[in-house]
């Protein structure tokens, strides 16, 4: 089983290929790999409670870890207690932790 960190920096309101990460996360999970999706920059925009983000909801239901960069949330005025279910705020340090731990990281 491999560990993957999928870093999504784009938001679905500006880019129509954002769900690439969600699709990849689901496929990797289905084949038994460990996957974390880390949202950064405008990638955190769909984490707002009430935002239309079907892809993220599916990941959450599938039990895939979804983290949102705390700094990116603060920059955009998104309170950590107003995130959709299944999304946890996290420091950017997580990316370095996972890289140092040998996780396969993909930036999108």
């Amino acid at each position: 089983m491999a560990s993957y960190l999928l870093i999504e920096s784009r938001d679905p309101y500006d880019s129509n290929d954002v769900w690439f990460c969600c699709d990849l996360a689901k496929q990797l999970t289905q084949q038994g790999d460990q996957v974390t999706v880390f949202l950064v920059q405008n990638g955190v925009l769909p984490t707002r409670a009430g935002a239309r983000a079907d892809g993220l909801s599916e990941l959450s239901k599938a039990g895939i870890e979804i983290l949102a960069d705390e700094f990116s949330l603060r920059e955009r005025g998104i309170p950590s207690d107003r995130l959709m279910a299944g999304v946890k705020p996290a420091p950017l340090d997580v990316v370095i932790d996972r890289l140092a731990g040998g996780c396969k990281a993909i930036w999108h």
């Binding site: 920059q41 950017l92 340090d93 140092a100 040998g102 990281a105």
Partner: protein, 138 residues
């Protein structure tokens, strides 16, 4: 350091244009604070991150002089990252893609930056515990 790691980052974006450069420098800073050895391969527009002729400027629109504007320059951030790794006894190898430099006339880089080729990136990645490629937006 028993858990000392070597991480390689490949960058592509120029400074002052998008959040990817900022996030990349934040990531490198975290790795530097941990005392990791760091390799950076700057490709395409990212060779300007360490361009030595960057200058701060006043902001006439807001009536601020250079000191008040306190404009952050990426060349200074690169230098401070190098100093931090030196203090930690770590290695910091920043390679600017030579062809990318020539195309852009970005030949003057801050001290510590060297010229190289994508072949250097391969060597860096092979010698690292892990590599993150922060590609430009396609």
């Amino acid at each position: 350091m028993a858990d000392k790691k070597t991480l390689t980052f490949a960058l592509m974006d120029p400074p002052y244009e998008n959040a990817r450069s900022t996030t990349a420098l934040r990531l490198i800073h975290i790795a530097a604070k941990r005392g990791y050895d760091i390799n950076v391969f700057a490709y395409e527009g990212s060779v300007y991150l360490a361009f030595a002729k960057q200058k701060p400027h006043p902001n006439a629109m807001h009536g601020r002089n250079i000191e008040e504007e306190n404009h952050v320059l990426t060349k200074d951030l690169v230098s401070s990252l190098m100093e931090e790794t030196k203090r930690n006894g770590s290695k910091f190898d920043w390679v600017n893609c030579g062809l990318c430099v020539d195309e852009r006339g970005a030949t003057e880089a801050v001290e510590g930056v060297r010229r190289g080729s994508p072949g250097d990136f391969l060597k860096m990645a092979e010698a690292s515990d892990n590599t993150l490629v922060i590609g430009t937006r396609g």
